[in-house]
């Protein structure tokens, strides 16, 4: 069970290897990829600001919850911080279990909770030079100018 904030690109095969278990018959992974569009605007890349200590603490709590609620063997979650390009992996969640149903449910649970509970903020950069924090009132893209 491990939750980490990484400033370097995530390596799914290495992360998966950390969950290897000969008792496991099913493995489910979720990857969040940086898209080229969001709400109709062309995105060129994004920046994740993370409060690392609290993000890891909350992430580990979520993984523990999943281990308690679902019949799984192990689970992990890694999230990127800093600048990301299109197509990069922003977040990786992996779950190994004896049977597949529990792996699907736990993986879904973990990513849903991670997205709403971890102190992580996403700033999108747009083709026209603007930028904006996602999910934040009164600071819609186009009103805030990029200052990287």
């Amino acid at each position: 069970m491990h939750c980490r904030i990484d400033t370097r690109p995530l390596d799914p095969e290495a992360l998966k290897a950390s969950l290897r278990d000969v008792r496991a018959g099913g493995f489910v992974a979720f990857e969040g990829w940086v898209r080229d569009h969001n709400e109709g605007r062309a995105v060129t890349g994004l920046h994740y600001e993370v409060h690392e200590r609290l993000a890891v603490k909350e992430g580990e709590r979520i993984l523990q919850e999943a281990l308690g609620r679902f019949e799984i063997l192990d689970a992990a979650c890694h999230h990127r911080a800093g600048d990301l390009a299109l197509g990069e992996i922003a977040v990786w969640v992996g779950v190994a279990s004896r049977h597949r149903a529990a792996a699907f449910e736990a993986c879904r649970y973990i990513i849903d909770e991670v997205k709403t509970r971890l102190p992580i903020w996403k700033k999108e950069f747009y083709v026209d030079g603007d930028s904006g924090w996602v999910n934040c009132a009164g600071c819609a893209a186009g009103h805030v100018h990029a200052h990287r």
């Binding site: 409060h51 609290l54 924090w133 934040c136």
Partner: protein, 80 residues
């Protein structure tokens, strides 16, 4: 009066124009303190969508403020 330190993240940091400050306040709870800071710096996000951590732990808005507390104000999160 209590002396507390406050830190701002992401859009709050940009809207406040600073990442943290030392404050003297009569606010009873961290929620009350947030109200003061939001008004002064023009934070637009409703409190229900924001989070607060006190002394390195996420905490409810009703948490009573104590002298020397370290308070972190988090705007709406967007991981993934």
């Amino acid at each position: 009066m209590k002396r507390v330190s406050v830190e701002y993240f992401a859009v709050f940091r940009e809207q406040a124009g600073l990442s943290g400050e030392q404050l003297e306040t009569r606010a009873a709870s961290v929620g009350e303190l947030f109200g003061e800071c939001a008004l002064r710096h023009g934070f637009a996000d409703p409190r229900e969508r924001c989070k607060v951590a006190v002394n390195d732990e996420l905490a409810p808005w009703e948490t009573l403020l104590a002298d020397g507390d370290q308070v972190l104000f988090f705007p709406p999160v967007a991981g993934g």
